[in-house]
Amino acid sequence: MGNPLPSSRAAEAFPAGLRVLIVDDDPTWLKILEKMLRKCSYQVTTCSLATDALHILRERKARFDIVISDVNMPDMDGFKLLEHVGLEMDLPVIMMSIDGETSRVMKGVQHGACDYLLKPVRMKELRNIWQHVYRKKMQELKEVETHSIDEVINILRNGSEDIEDRHLIDETEMSSMRKRKDVDNKEFVDQELNDPSTVKKARVVWSVDLHQKFVNAVDQIGFDKVGPKKILDLMSVPGLTRENVASHLQKYRLYLSRLQKQNGGTCGGNMQSDHINKTIKGKFGLKSSTNVQQDWELTKYACTTENFQTHGIVANAAHVSEMNRVAPAQVIASKKALVNDAQLGLFLSFKGMLPSIREKACKPLHDERPVMQLMQYPEQENYSVLEGYSCLANPDRDHEPCFDHFPSSQPLITSATCTNGKDMKDLYEMKPLQPAMPPMACTIDSVSIQVKHGLVNLQDTGAICKLEGSPSIEDCYLDETCNQGCFPLTYEVSLKSKSDSDSMLEDLHLYSVQKLSYLENVSCTGTEIYQYIDSVPITEVQRINLCEDSEPSGEYLYDPVDYSIDEYLFS
């Protein structure tokens, strides 16, 4: 299963093209189910061994929306597979069996199956499996919505410019942010509230760090006395809800109890670390950075770009040791973006925002950095640019906020370059991925933002994250099922908690368009700007030295590029 190019899914509408992994040791059923699923216009991968299935799921290249598995398999119990998938990939799993005994079905539900089909399975039952994918998505969004709105309300109440609450970020990371209060933030908030539909949404993903916190909390409380509320309090991760913790706890419990059975209770002490290791491995893949993929697989239908995701998470993965350097993500509007009339692609490249990522041995994340939850964007929303985009040292505070949300579904691939007003050479260090790499975000000295406003049509636009190891630009194209420019370009940003990392932003920050005029000078049409961008020397890799004081740290999380830009900016 290769990387699906946008064009391959262009013609199909959801749920067609749903990527299904089917696991069954019975060859006859495997053949029949495969045929049935294909007839539903789904993309099918078959597997007769559970171990193979897990391997496929963990592999970087393979991407799936849903897994269907038989309960009785020779190499691994279907319920065990279910558990693994739930813990590691968080995909919806449907169980199947000839056996419809209540106890079995109940076991399936307990282990997290989203459905339990009885054999013989009819095609009409398979036709509807997309609902599980969709439902999961909706649930996630709901969760997020609740957060975001709460946070915003909080801010309003407190009248604080502190964007802390608006992020689902760990508090320690925010300390550096506080020093960079920005008037624009407040403006952003106002705008955000005016248009509640554009509240940024994020979703909880149990990254290694987060999970480590969870486990620490559990340890502290004592496994026997543990409860979601207690864990939540101990973890003190803003934005995490009791429900998030509760569901994760359930999975954890199941996992441990199974391990216990396996080990015969002898290695109880090691269980936890074992679990962590396994989880980490599971989440991030064992050896190669490419395995990190799956953790980001969560909302495939919400448009994901493969490379983007992979690298995003690689950025802070525990196995960072493999990656000597993490290229900060730059989201670049696709070349195709700008052919439409008067549509500019939003083009943000982060300049001067992030510390350079130098080669160094990266320690496991949980040692040093607080972790941010990963943000994902739903495909149909408008995005607010905001929540806490603190501008980098922007002297001109009286500028209008550069990004406003549009009520319309504007394209949202944005990349902005921002200077921190200091050294113009401050750029992201981007390691050229390949010699023939397409242009990456370039920085232009005098511009704080280059904006290209593109259309949401995903065929045209694509967020390209040029991250290390990214093989090609095509890989970064967003999944076309995302009918709006939702770019779940989420990265986890982990900052070294150094107080002097003033200028570091743990999030993707939009900058006020200081020099909009620049843009005007450049051109107002997308194509032109785009071309302009193209012409800027791109392969140049410049070092960023964001914080003079702080040591650049390795990983950043960028909020996806979904910014609507106020049209007037470009007029």
């Binding site: 006859t28 059923w29 053949k31 029949i32 038989d70 056996d99 013989p120 009819r122």
Partner: protein, 152 residues
């Protein structure tokens, strides 16, 4: 033309018999519906696959029944899989007999098991024969049949 329709009628009759006698159920219809231009021999392929796999399973069951002491748990596993397999092509008689077989198994009733297994083997053999005939006829009738069948 007449020959073709004659064959079709014959085919339809055969199928009806198989259904009436309880050898096949509506799952088999599902299989036929799945057959299309992209998989023109789907039914035949699936049926072949089934008989190959089920024969292997049944050999395992045979072994398990010969073993002393009998491992009923292992036997049950095989049966579970055989039952699942039978359900794939709609082999109704086999499937039902497997259910009885499993019951004897859970009781540890060796005698019951042996009798039941004999029935399963018989059903298997008969079904195989009948389906071979059916498929042969199906091949003769060819794609025309699909059109007529979809109309019915």
């Amino acid at each position: 033309m007449e020959n073709a329709s004659g064959l079709q009628r014959q085919l339809a009759r055969m199928k009806k018999d198989l259904f009436d006698q309880g050898y096949l159920d509506e799952q088999f219809d599902q299989l036929e519906e799945l057959q299309d231009e992209s998989s023109p021999n789907f039914v035949e392929e699936v049926v072949t696959l089934f008989f190959r796999d089920s024969s292997r399973l049944m050999a395992n069951i045979d072994d398990a029944l010969q073993q002393c002491p009998r491992d009923f748990h292992r036997l049950d596993n095989f049966l579970h899989r055989l039952k699942g397999s039978a359900s794939s092509i709609g082999a109704a008689k086999m499937k039902n007999e497997c259910t009885s077989f499993r019951e004897f198994c859970s009781e540890g009733n060796l005698d019951g098991c042996l009798r039941s297994f004999q029935k399963v083997k018989n059903d298997h053999t008969i079904l195989r024969q009948k389906l071979e005939n059916y498929l042969q006829l199906l091949r003769q009738v060819g794609p025309v049949d699909k059109a007529s069948r979809s109309g019915s």
